[in-house]
């Protein structure tokens, strides 16, 4: 028996060991395109940038547009363009870690390529995965993509202010998520309107102190 993903797993283990030795928390953010990963990072940098030393790895198929949006926070950012690839892997992360001074970081957010399937398969060496779902995508995402919701440490349900304009059924979403991972913390937020963001800041701050 040989694990086909050994090559990725071995490098992920190296990355994890390095980050533990440097006391850096790495959060692998996974969502569909447009769920609000970059907007979450904008608000998180704004709110927590003076309390914690934040770094970001931006994974995108092409362009540095997301990185441009975060430039104003004056934090170290590295862009990985996958040139068509649908996910980041541990080797691509390992290569760019040299660009950061890990002794001067508390948290490294990795914004994975927008996609609910492929990124869930690849361990990057992260401390934990964070799933973001937005209400405009529909309430069936946990049922359709169980792997991500089983493995993530928390779920952020974004764009809750838009629920009245969609057919999103919160009870159905909560019930599906509960069947897959009953223990998982769920935050109902609106990055743009600010709803629920305090709870998210509190949770992630606590993770950094742990």
């Amino acid at each position: 028996m040989k694990n086909i993903l050994d090559r990725n797993q071995n490098k992920a283990n190296e990355v994890r060991d390095l980050l533990i030795s440097k006391k850096v928390l790495m959060v692998n953010i996974i969502s569909s395109p447009g769920a609000g990963k970059t907007t979450l990072l904008e608000h998180t940098c704004e709110e927590l940038g003076n309390k914690f030393r934040i770094g970001v790895i931006e994974g995108d198929i092409t362009t540095d547009r997301d990185a441009q949006r975060l430039k104003k926070y004056n934090i170290p950012i590295v862009v990985i363009n996958t040139e068509g690839g649908c996910h980041l892997d541990s080797h691509s992360i390992s290569k760019v870690l040299d660009s950061f001074d890990l002794d001067k970081l508390d948290i490294l957010f990795v914004e994975n390529v927008g996609n609910l399937i492929c990124p869930s398969q690849f361990d990057l060496g992260e401390t934990f995965k964070l799933a973001i779902v937005s209400t405009t995508e529909g309430d069936d995402k946990p049922a359709k993509y169980p792997m991500l919701f089983r493995e993530a440490a928390a779920v952020l349900l974004n764009k809750i202010d838009l629920i009245p304009y969609t057919n999103f059924n919160y009870e159905s979403f909560r019930s599906d998520l509960g069947k897959i991972n009953s223990m998982i913390p769920l935050f109902q937020i609106s990055c743009t309107m600010g709803d629920g963001m305090e709870e998210w800041y509190e949770w992630i701050s606590k993770k950094m102190k742990d």
Partner: protein
């Protein structure tokens, strides 16, 4: 589409193993694929065939055994097969479960001559 990069890793392992075992031809690769692993078997197989073109594994058969999702309940200890992503113990109703099968992505064996 991640099937392509995983198939590339598979082809590297197959060819490396064939080299160690001094095979002149790889005829079959037997794989275990857990149901929770989000890989489409047909695309995976196609990508592997493409990856090993012009190598000693060209034309090798690929046998993919799908492994169903099994969980063990941390409350009552029973283990059971999960249906339709309902990760709830079918004996005591607990949701505190450990995955024991369903995440496999293994090469079971490589056949050749």
């Amino acid at each position: 589409m991640h099937e392509i990069s995983i198939a590339a890793d598979l082809s590297s392992i197959v060819l490396e193993t064939a080299g160690i075992e001094k095979l002149s031809k790889v005829t079959k690769v037997n794989i275990s694929l857990g149901q929770m692993v989000q890989i489409v078997p047909d695309i995976f197989e196609f990508a592997f065939r493409e990856a090993v073109k012009d190598t000693i594994a060209h034309g090798a058969a690929v046998d993919i055994e799908i492994v169903e999702v099994r969980m063990k309940c941390r409350e009552c200890g029973v283990d059971f097969t999960v249906n339709e992503n309902n990760f709830t113990c079918n004996k005591c109703g607990s949701t505190d479960l450990e995955i024991i099968h369903g995440k496999e992505l293994f090469i079971k064996s490589i056949e050749g001559e």
